[in-house]
Symmetry: C2
Subunit: 213 residues, 2 copies
Amino acid sequence: MTPSRAAGEPTRDQIVSFLERCADRGVPPTVREIGDAVGLRSPASVHRQLRTLEEDGRIICDGDGRSRSWRITKPKSRRRGGGMIPVVGRIAAGEPIDSLEGEEDFLPIPPNGFASSGDVVALRVEGNSMTDAGILSGDYAIIRRQPEVENGQVAAVSIDGQGTLKVWRRTGKGKISLEPRARGFEVIRLGRGSGEVSVFGRLVGVARMYGEG
Amino acid sequence: MTPSRAAGEPTRDQIVSFLERCADRGVPPTVREIGDAVGLRSPASVHRQLRTLEEDGRIICDGDGRSRSWRITKPKSRRRGGGMIPVVGRIAAGEPIDSLEGEEDFLPIPPNGFASSGDVVALRVEGNSMTDAGILSGDYAIIRRQPEVENGQVAAVSIDGQGTLKVWRRTGKGKISLEPRARGFEVIRLGRGSGEVSVFGRLVGVARMYGEG
DNA sequence: GAGGGTAGCGAACGAATGTTCGCATGTCGA
DNA sequence: TCGACATGCGAACATTCGTTCGCTACCCTC
């Protein structure tokens, strides 16, 4: 009889996922702790899956017979919330740029300082429409992904798939203004029939790195 | 007979140091591993020191009787190069501020992204003399400590013990200009007899965090 | 020198842990 | 239907590991 376990994610993926979470927290789990986490009551069941995962190269065993020695093969640099903020693309601070996503690089800044939780990414800013807000072309905009922002907050907005960084202001029912923060740039006014507009996220931080020049 | 152990650092400090190193690497050690690391051949010896350290509040035991459960009380935020940049004080972007150092806080940004090596600290910017360079009051200036900078680079400069953030320019023999980057601020010109001037470091990055507002 | 405190050792015990073995159940294709 | 296969269980077994106990040695102070 197959035991009544939470359906959906396969057992082996659950184990890998649990090991990832443990790697984030610091202490690797024991075999029985893994069993508790994924719903396997016998350490033998866990152990067999661990061996299989090892053959697949997804996990490795640090010591042989030592306690808490099973761990993820690679620290999974795609992991968010552990150390890096992924740079998922570029964003305009002038004319909207078409490519808003497409993971490119990693910014060595833990999101903890910018947002305690949630999905935080970085976008490289191109353009000068926000220079008066201290956001220059080449800066990294730290964006927390969220579907809505409040009036006056700086938002990464997607207009017909093109992304731009502006101050968000709802001026009326279905009417939105996207305000630049620099001289020489016009306010973008959006109403009905202005195309598809969606908030990508809210600006929670800015990071800039100077080279040797 | 006291065994021949490496003299110098007391055993207890060695243990704490070893636990710190393990915390960095990820896996907490077993009692016997600690013994091997610090030169204690009996787990009993290690265990007694662990209990003493626990009473002193320097370490804590996560689980009681579980393996690998001894760890450092606090992750020692003073550590540099591992995760945080220390915020060592405030710096003026307007009128010089007297307090340049005095460790206050930690910015959750690893220096790796800003400088591969060296002593990197953060200073909280106060004032608006560098706003045209995208450095606003309240930002964190990421400073790599170095005694000299080149013309045109932004430097944290100490004038008679007062710190300020400006563009550094040597205008002649013994003559220095400190240029603001904002309207309404005057260039500070320094020559012989202008007091003691020293470069605190070079600006290698800027970080800004927005709150909920 | 006596005595207390500190710090080390080895031995031992019990619990935790990794690992193996045999068995049962469900799936899938021949 | 039958057998190979995957997966789970419980029961061991062998280490590992945390912890305790008694002992010895050194360093003090009195």
